[in-house]
Amino acid sequence: MKKIALLIAVIIAAVMLIGCSGKNNTLYILNWGDYIDEELLERFERETGIDVNYTTMASNEEMLIKLQAKDTIYDICFPSDYIVEKLIAEDLLHELNKENIPNLKNIDERFLNLPFDPGNKYSVPYMWGTVGIMYNKTMVSEPVTSWDILWDEEYAGKIFMYDSIRDTIGLTLIRLGYSINTRDESHVLEAQQALIEQRPLVQAYLGDAIKDRMIAGEGALSVVYSGDAVWCTDEEEGNPDLAYAVPEEGSNIWFDNIIIPKASDNTEAAEMFINFLCDAEVAKQNTEYIGYSTPNAAALKLMDPEWLENEVYNPPAEVIERCEIFHDLGDFTAVYSKAWDKIIY
């Protein structure tokens, strides 16, 4: 009995030791892969003396789960619009002290006060873009104007789709003429059926790996975020045979944001970091490095006009108008997950 008591005591002590590991002056950042110029992290460390602990993940859903954990260690995170909406609803975000973020003035007004966070109480826009079709001009000669082309048997085995519930089901809903935020189960089931029919034509459901496969010329058509398309169609780093189009039926426009979880105990350093990222010079370097569009007007002014002329990087107003923004679906997310299980297995 004594031995068991001793054992339990040791376990408790060990758990407490793990729990108390000091955080002191370290900023814990959770980001998407390839989504910051890591040189900037070093610069931030140099300038402020704050250590950065940098981790990446591959999906919004994964990020959400990590932030929902009661003892989440992260101080900075980059979720998309609908996840910010959910995090606010669940009261998991720290209300920003805007006095610490004077560089907020650099952000273009178009990107402030968006429906998922009115007044930007909890989030600062980081990058934005659309979802569209990236195609290889040597394999696709017809104009790409509709999502229908992803269901064209001519391209069987040469199509890549995103391994992402909301993106993939969302574009199918648009193709069927429904909203990407539908809460009608019959719409989701119809999309599910369409994606099951498409499955034999799809070579693979991937994440970031789509970029490598398309640049290597292994696919004719793929779904990508506009920022990745900027990078992939680049003449030096990518493959000049690739082009990007946002279908005429419409698409998704998305905003990735910087947030601080409520559980963070280092909010001042986190706000310093947000301010740092909103600096015009820093934002310029960052957007040029990752290729995603910045909402930072001051940064755009510093950039080569070539960037603004690039319609993938800077979509014209008519493209933006036909795009819809994702909203949090609440409990209805389970219906989407269930449909997803029947599509990807």
Partner: protein, 273 residues
């Protein structure tokens, strides 16, 4: 059974990192917010898709283990007949890749098998163009065999080199030819190695998940992938836990079967066949 002081760190380790997580899984599978629920169990058996994925995992583990055995046994046998120094050098070649992380090695297969990769190019040189190698079920099987083959070769090799040569000499003296000697003497005596090889391949193969994701392109999900998806991206801890338990039970059953087989092989020596 008197435990020595030295066993305490091990017991602590087991309690903290094996027993406690297992209890958490059982808890999440049957309780929601502290209340008993059978909902997750129902959900796990209700959907035919989950069963299909489980079946695929079992099939793949079987095929992978069989292929590893067919490739691994002859290799181990050849190694065991070689000069000690040559065998030692060659076995380094089998172990060497294991010094590298298996994800890295699997990524390398992505490059090799991709339709712009070297294998496709060689095939198209011989007139087989447009053969899809990556993102197929075959690629997943290849990845499984490649990653787990050393775990088949090494235990068999270890048993074979310890084999008492006088048994073989006796068989030869009594007029058995090479093939008869092998099937009547060598193979039965090496059964303990074969069985531990099978265990060491089958169990990781049935629980694997990264290989199918990297080489199967999301089209050939395994049970491990399903569990990962439920917990990491759907946040459905309950269903994920039930699926984990189902896999756990399967693994336990296969371990029991293997141990039974090992006992028979061990106690009765060469008389299994």
């Amino acid at each position: 059974m008197k435990r020595t002081l030295f066993s305490y760190p091990y017991i602590l380790w087991m309690a903290l990192f094996i027993l406690a997580p297992m209890l958490f899984i059982v808890y999440h599978a049957f309780f929601e917010n502290g209340r008993w629920t059978m909902e997750y169990i129902k959900a796990a058996f209700e959907d035919a898709v989950y069963f299909k994925v489980l079946l695929r995992s079992i099939m793949l583990a079987f095929e992978g283990t069989l292929l590893c055995l067919l490739l691994g046994y002859p290799t181990a046998y050849m190694l065991s007949t070689m000069k000690k120094s040559t065998a030692a050098l060659l076995s380094v070649f089998f172990i060497l890749p294991m010094w590298m992380n298996f994800l890295l090695r699997t990524y390398a297969w992505q490059v090799l098998l991709g339709s712009s990769g070297i294998i496709s190019r060689i095939l198209s040189f011989f007139g087989f163009s447009d053969v899809l190698l990556l993102h197929t079920e075959g690629a997943v099987l290849l990845g499984t065999v490649y990653n787990f083959l050393p775990f088949m070769i090494l235990p068999i090799y270890t048993v074979l080199i310890k084999l008492d040569k006088s048994h073989i000499e006796a068989a030869n003296d009594l007029g058995a030819d090479g093939i008869t000697t092998f099937f009547k003497v060598v193979f039965p005596l090496s059964m303990p190695g074969v069985i531990s090889g099978i265990t060491m391949v089958f169990i990781p193969a049935i629980t694997t998940f990264a290989i199918s994701r990297l080489l199967g392109g999301g089209k050939y999900r395994l049970y491990g992938d399903l569990i990962e998806q439920k917990i990491v991206s759907d946040g459905d801890l309950g269903l994920g836990s039930v699926l984990s338990l189902i896999l756990l039970v399967l693994v336990l059953i296969s371990i029991v079967i293997m141990q039974k087989a090992e006992k028979t092989a061990g106690s009765e020596g060469g008389t299994l066949w």
